[in-house]
Symmetry: D2
Subunit: 383 residues, 4 copies
């Protein structure tokens, strides 16, 4: 956001004064960028999908920002009493200046720009790298008429490659990392573990480490903010460690497998098997039963979905129950490209690649199952 704001300040000289990146707006934008994910539960998006009755993290972010008792609220209010509300709005993509709203939540918002580079570096998947300085230099304001505040646009042919490369880097990270079979298998297992733990608590069965937020879920009530905030990655993973000693054989077994990295295996529907998803699941349920494994915890279907370049007026992505980086952006219009003579065109109309990817959805459907079912399933699915 710092680099984004610095770039906007280089190019906002032609805007009417009231549309420029003032110090106040820069501060609001920085705060929104820093705080937009404070509502996340443990293990980021995962928890939200896996925990019965969990709120969307955006709603929790808002709740934290607006709660007069939260430390964050206190610090923001000190600066300006209306700051918590303005930041909460920005986090939801609401702002009088479209270019600022889009920077917090949009097709190439600063969050995406940031996590791609960090995840690419951390995972060693260089495909996720892209040329951020070039992308920033490609930014322009869209020409507007009258008093209409401009959105962001991309500068000519040079900028098109910058945005293409960014969107493809993101697609590669989804293909190679976020939708990787091991990632999805581990997420599936954690989902099963949480579901099982809640079920046991509901049934009144004792489990080694009791988590207040989990008890709330089991009791059918929303956790208090304090209960929610206490449940960080550390606490959840320590609980999973402790649950290895649970009396319930399913909970104990799932936790032991996860911690020993004995991850579930997968068959990708349509690639590794020609059997349709529902039929494959039905087969797997039978195979699990024949092996005396509870199908509810040892086989499942996982659908991962992303639209790398949404057609205008469509939402950008949604990745099913346990997807990382679920984005709720709904953008009304395509990004505009500005050519030297001032002509503006829709990005999807002038990009060779994006014209062919526009509105196309990447979908990975996998049968996820305990490793010992593999041979039986191979026989049944690779006919």
């Amino acid at each position: 956001m710092q680099r984004f704001v610095a770039r906007l300040r280089q190019i906002d000289g032609d805007l009417p004064f009231w549309q420029r990146m003032t110090s106040e707006r820069a501060r609001d934008a920085m705060a929104a960028a820093l705080l937009h994910d404070v509502g996340h539960g443990p293990l980021s998006h995962l928890f939200e999908g896996a925990m019965p009755g969990a709120s969307k993290h955006e709603r929790l972010t808002t709740r934290i920002l607006l709660d007069p008792d939260s430390e964050v609220h206190g610090l923001l209010s000190e600066d300006d009493p209306s700051l918590p509300h303005r930041v909460a709005d920005l986090v939801m993509g609401v702002h009088e200046l479209p270019y600022l709203a889009n920077a917090v939540s949009g097709i190439f918002d600063v969050d995406r720009c940031d996590y791609l580079l960090r995840d690419a570096r951390a995972t060693g998947v260089t495909y996720g790298d892209y040329d951020l300085p070039w992308l920033l230099r490609s930014l322009r304001f869209e020409p507007t008429e009258g008093n209409v505040a401009p959105g962001l646009a991309i500068d000519g042919m040079k900028g098109i490659t910058a945005i293409e490369s960014f969107l493809l880097a993101r697609l590669f990270m989804f293909q190679q990392v976020y939708f990787h079979k091991s990632t999805r298998a581990a997420e599936t297992m954690i989902g099963h573990i949480l579901r099982r733990a809640v079920q046991l608590v509901e049934a009144g069965e004792p489990i080694p480490a009791r988590l207040p937020a989990l008890e709330a879920a089991a009791a059918g009530r929303a956790p208090t903010l304090h209960e929610y905030l206490e449940l960080d990655d550390q606490v959840l993973l320590t609980a999973i460690h402790a649950w290895e000693e649970a009396k319930d054989p399913v909970l104990s077994d799932l936790c032991k497998r996860l911690r020993a990295r004995a991850l579930f295996k997968t068959f990708e529907v349509g690639i590794e098997t020609d059997v349709a998803a529902d039929e494959a699941l039905a087969i797997a349920v039978e195979v699990a039963r024949a092996r005396s494994l509870d199908p509810a915890y040892y086989v499942s279907l996982d659908r991962a979905i992303d639209t790398p370049y949404p057609a205008a007026q469509a939402s950008s992505s949604a990745q099913g129950p346990a997807g990382p980086h679920i984005e709720s952006t709904s953008e009304g219009r395509d990004l505009r490209v500005i050519f030297p003579d001032g002509r503006a065109r829709d990005l999807g109309d002038v990009s060779f690649i994006l014209a062919r990817l526009r509105g196309q959805t990447l979908e990975r459907t996998r049968l996820v199952f305990a490793a010992e079912l593999r041979d039986d399933l191979r026989g049944a699915l690779l006919r």
Copy 2:
């Protein structure tokens, strides 16, 4: 090619002995990789397109390799008298082992792998970078039956991203560098210069520096091999320097503009103007005449064409008269992807991106014209 051969040797253990990467084959492949472009005239592909009656560089490569008087022929023959012929065959993509033929000339031959990385580094266009080590590690041999020699294949989901990333890096380099408007404008100008010079020689008009290969062209005969080899980049550029002093005003003017980097300007048809290509050219011819510029040398159409991922049985690319890196590969089949259970699928069927790019052609058509025509043309073309 060294790295490619090293990789093949890691994986050829399962092949029958006669299909493996022997030392002899490695030597042949190294020689072919080193020598495949010795037939290039000055300024690489440019000369071939710009020079009236010039042979394809591949034909000249063959001619040099097989000429008993060439230094290269002598060195190869010393090692093995049949080596020049084998290398010449390999350069044309002919070899008993399809995987070796493809490595010299194919969808991701070592030449492409090499020039993309070097050009990306030299131009600073990081979009052209890709993960070569990962691509190499993704290589497998296609499973074959009986005594059929295998082609190369790609290993599972991991390999798909490697080849996608490579093909997109190549596309980005075409978009950003090889098809860049300044590159194409300069190439157009050099083409005009060569055409004018030949014409003057044909007409018996004296020009400052006379080049034997040019005289041959003017006389309607193919240059001797010696004449051709003497004409390197250095000699051609020195001649263009000298031609600044030519009496012919067109030749002199074009050379001065080129050396002062006063490049022709462009309008991209379909992007920067909605006027159709032929009509735009007709308008430009009129505009040039009105300005007393010879339309034959001061306006022209430039069409740059590339098919980043050819559909099976189609040729991979052809870039019009003055295109760099013209590749004449015709591959019969798509690359195969091998999944863990041994299933093989066509790359274009399992890649999200390539399924959408298969057989699609990138085309940039530009009106190229002297800078002083710009304002008149803008008025006429941007109606």
Copy 3:
């Protein structure tokens, strides 16, 4: 180690057969590289220095490797019953082939080669980066006479820069990361915390989370191997979390400061103050007492020492009580450099930089103290 072994195999062809890198030796070397640090307690070197009576981690590595009940012993023995002993010897730098012993423990052993690159990447301190492929390509075997097994040597002028660059990268990482004031301050605090916790257990005072290895230390006995292995980073950090609620105000306060990143501050003796170390400590003790802080836990001296390029026959480095990466190598001789005509010279005699760094010791002595003492200390020390 994989890359090192691969390089040795490229150059061992001229050695007598019994001195080459056989598959068995490669396996031993890989095992030693993987296992050389299994003896580390939580937070690596830190624990060893901070825990009263703790063994050197190398001794614990040996104990684990040779313990018939350890999982690691079982796996190695399965392959070859004498493997655990051979690996334990290698970890201690003992092997019939000097070049292999040095690769596990020496001036540029694979551990150093590895941690520098990983730490440089993880911390973003690019100074710690060096050209590993070049360094590997520079490796040669020292010429030897008779049946003497060769050590490693460096190839001519090109290799000198490779090893200079490596040693300087290591020095930069010590200066910028391992000896960073915040790193050392945090380590000092953890040392105080552990010492206090052991003391409280000795005194029979209850503390929230009891760790068996700590109880053993308090009881004056060595922990069992099981007790030691149970104490990983996770368990220790969770205990420190729990100790925030300890009744002992010192333990509780130190843990709260550490977790809130309220790190102790430092003055570097000789740079930031001209007062001698012991005198500075005496002053700080008085200042702490005047503020009612127990000087035993709120002020201390920290000495960090490293010899980047030891003179021959000296030990390479030793970093005081809490130093990271303590290396106990004692090398009898300097590395040799081989010139094209076969002459061999000592590295320190032919390197411009290393001749000037040979045997020189980097020393950082710092007064470490609670932040609230800063102003008083500044007055007293910056006279």
Copy 4:
């Protein structure tokens, strides 16, 4: 210089207004940075040393800047009639603000900062890379008293590593590239060629391509500015090509060797031979005579000298007759390091490495000789 100016503007807020980086000063500094080397003859520093009677390039830069007929003078004067003089002063390191003078010519002036990164990239010698953004962020102004304009200083421990790393990168580039034996051998050969050509012209012997600047040198007069500017790399290399056909056997032979990359060989005195430099030369003269080679052109001594970190009040570097990047800076004082409490110390007193390199001179003395003399010389010198 752009990045340097941007950094100065971030930190000049505390300076009195008249000492700040105004737009005018920024323009002057940009012009000086762009133009400081326009006086270079062909092949940069080489020509200056090799050409009898050639002026120092700095003197020629001044001459070009101040010549009312030069294009550069015209453009600068258009902006401000006194600009050529101010730029000429800056190029010589003369400016009322020491920090600006040092930026154009000093221990880490922008020229050094720039050529190291470019040469490191172009040669692939990653040792020459350093962290420029970190170095820029480390810059501070030295605290001064009264109206004294400040010099640049470095910020604390963090900045020390930045400047150490920069100076070592420079040292590595000298060791690996600028002082490389092949570089020095080629430079020696070009020096011999130029000397021979001048001698032939002096003697009235015809040579194929005549260069006005060379004729001037032969006639004992300084070339006119026009003659000098006409002699670019291109023209000189084309002449060397043409001189392959010279009647003089020495000139012809030297040119053929150079163009065929049959470079002279070297023995480094003190490393590859223990014979002293003068004695080694005397032996080589005899060996050349015995082989009927003119010793004046086929053997010579080459001394390359650089002081990576000059002691205060000493000049930074001087590299003998044909050295690249000869720098004439004489700095009165060491760079200062500013610590958090405002204390300033000399860099050489607080840097572990630089304290040991201060005033130390890297010297490479090599016997340079035609390759066919190698075996005879080896026998005589490697006794």
